[in-house]
Symmetry: C2
Subunit: 182 residues, 2 copies
């Protein structure tokens, strides 16, 4: 069975997930000093795999240490195992599969829930109707320019709003499920 897929992402009010150079300094600056993690740890603990594309991998590589405890798949046609080693990636593998084929593979391995991260990757999964759920945390800033989460060349998808929570920091998190088209 194909695993359930969730996009969990922070976006600016104007819909960007990073500046044009991939940096997320604005996101760190906007966070408060509290212990609040906006459900991130509980969410990550609920998934069997995190799937990211090259763009997100390049950002994470810049962090210096590999931040994930969950198994990761980096979907890329161009990266090599040496890139993963250089990023100190542990419990991570490369794949050149299509989104659908990757999910089928992960499902065959017993994965039930998959976290899909990154702009271009999310767009390609959406284009094939392979996203089940969106958890979007809106950060109170207009970036003006950057990398869009959704882009402008996608398909239409009806969503079902599940819940919204506003935090004292001004972050607003909404959860939507994607309606299956008939």
């Amino acid at each position: 069975m194909r695993p359930h897929t969730t996009v969990y992402c922070a976006v600016s009010v104007d819909g960007f997930i990073a500046r044009e150079d991939g940096s997320v300094d604005w996101l760190e600056a906007a966070g408060d000093a509290s212990e609040e993690d906006y459900g991130y740890r509980a969410f990550v603990d609920s998934v069997d795999f995190l799937v990211m594309g090259r763009g997100t991998f390049e950002t994470v590589r810049g962090f210096g240490a590999w931040p994930y405890t969950v198994p990761v798949v980096v979907l890329s046609q161009t990266l090599s195992p040496a890139d993963l080693a250089e990023a100190h990636a542990t419990d991570a593998r490369l794949s050149t599969r299509s989104p659908r084929s990757l999910l089928d593979e992960l499902g065959a391995e017993g994965a039930r829930r998959v976290y899909v991260d990154g702009g271009r990757l999310v767009q390609s999964f959406l284009a094939e109707g392979l996203i089940d759920e969106l958890i979007l945390t809106t950060i109170p800033i207009l970036l003006g320019s950057g990398i869009h989460l959704f882009g402008s060349r996608g398909r239409e998808h009806g969503l079902e709003h599940q819940e919204t929570r506003a935090y004292p920091s001004g972050f607003v998190q909404s959860r939507y499920t994607v309606r299956r088209s008939s």
Copy 2:
């Protein structure tokens, strides 16, 4: 004194205010049959003027009847009074002023609150730091493509989250104030 400016707008989860041809059928389809107006009437009653650009005017013109009771300014270099007459525009005038100059003019006329509507116009007001408040109603749909509210060539603006309300229809309305840059 320059009047206080508010953007009041419905956007898809992927940040579009209309399809590429300007149509908002998806917005009408998403609305429920209840009497809920998401605070629109109270908001419109609180402003002295609504300012729109040519794009929004062209959409409104297609409605067949002029839907506004509030005084309207259509900011355009190309429209003519004949266009306004054809749209059955009442209590509406054309202006070719810059955003700043228009606000100064309206302020001199005693206007205290102005509603700024439409994608390109909002972008040009934002570019000059002339927006004070955003009231954004997020509709549970991914349109995939269309006209962005904010575009990709703007300036950065810090926002202050004021309140968020989720409605039974799945619409989520957030109000932000724009931080004044020093």
